[in-house]
Symmetry: C2
Subunit: 182 residues, 2 copies
């Protein structure tokens, strides 16, 4: 890591150290960093393809961090999640404290910060619920428990593989895909 990285104005407040390092067995030189346009394409493909994600919330009762894998659907604009309304994840998603979602592998991550809207099962467009069930193999409408859907509209998305991709890892800011040519 260079000092340049640490002061790169495109870096978020978490600095440049939130990254997994290559294991000792890995090649000394990772591939060159992908240009932004490629990262945007890879990110959208991952959102289209992936079924599960890591959902980090804050427990509104204690402020403690929570994390759980959940299935999701992606309609090109928002992620749709479902979980029990009384679960820690459900209460955290409903709390207004926001959510941070990780997709993909630890050395090829997509991180999503987003705004959350709770959508009661009975209110969701049945076509959307059908699509969720088709993709995830799980239909929250058929459960006996009290499930809620949650729509997550990304405000920022980041994508990086190894340390050399920390610079320029923002692929969406303020809800807009970055279209700047590298």
């Amino acid at each position: 890591m260079t000092a340049d990285d640490a002061t790169d104005s495109t870096d978020s407040a978490d600095g440049t150290d939130g990254v997994c390092r290559p294991p000792a067995e890995a090649p000394a030189s990772p591939p060159p960093p992908r240009p932004t346009a490629q990262r945007v394409r890879d990110t959208r493909e991952l959102l289209d393809r992936e079924i599960d994600c890591w959902v980090a919330t804050a427990d509104p009762a204690t402020g403690a961090p929570h994390l759980v894998p959940l299935s999701f659907d992606w309609d090109g604009t928002s992620l749709l999640l479902a979980t029990g309304e009384r679960s820690i994840a459900g209460r955290g998603l409903a709390s207004g404290a926001g959510v941070r979602i990780g997709l993909g592998a630890t050395r090829d991550v997509v991180m999503v910060d987003g705004l959350v809207e709770a959508v009661p099962t009975a209110v969701l467009d049945p076509a959307e619920a059908d699509r969720f069930a088709q993709r995830t193999g799980f239909d929250p409408r058929e459960t006996s428990g009290s499930y809620l859907f949650f729509r997550v509209v990304p405000s920022r998305i980041q994508a990086w593989r190894e340390e050399n991709e920390l610079r320029g890892r923002d692929v969406m800011l303020e809800g807009r895909w970055i279209t700047t040519t590298d």
Copy 2:
């Protein structure tokens, strides 16, 4: 999901819905649930083998959830992490709000809740720092930034694959591996 699952006394407060569902293409019946002893073995093997984990913290400035992949070492008792002391993850780890860590795949997860101790780089036993560097390929002592090590002592560990493993997913409680025979 059965009502029994939802009221299983071994379930944590997050209920039984914090789980990824099998995709529609998956076999209708997952393998039978592993007995606790097998889950403990699998969990310890994963902690020995894995290099990266998903680290969820709460941003002490805002209470917002944070999530980032970080490399770790495991000495059989605690996880050792390292990140910038001024990063969101670093400040969250130092805040006393706790940490929740996910390892493995979303359909074969190990979830660790733990207590965190910040360990300044200069204070950590050099042998431990060497081991961290060997395992992760990254030596925080060699960086120009202000890195801290963080020792995470697990208080609770859970392990599950699919929905049929939610029951009995605790493999450690109050810092002790569960030894009950199934």
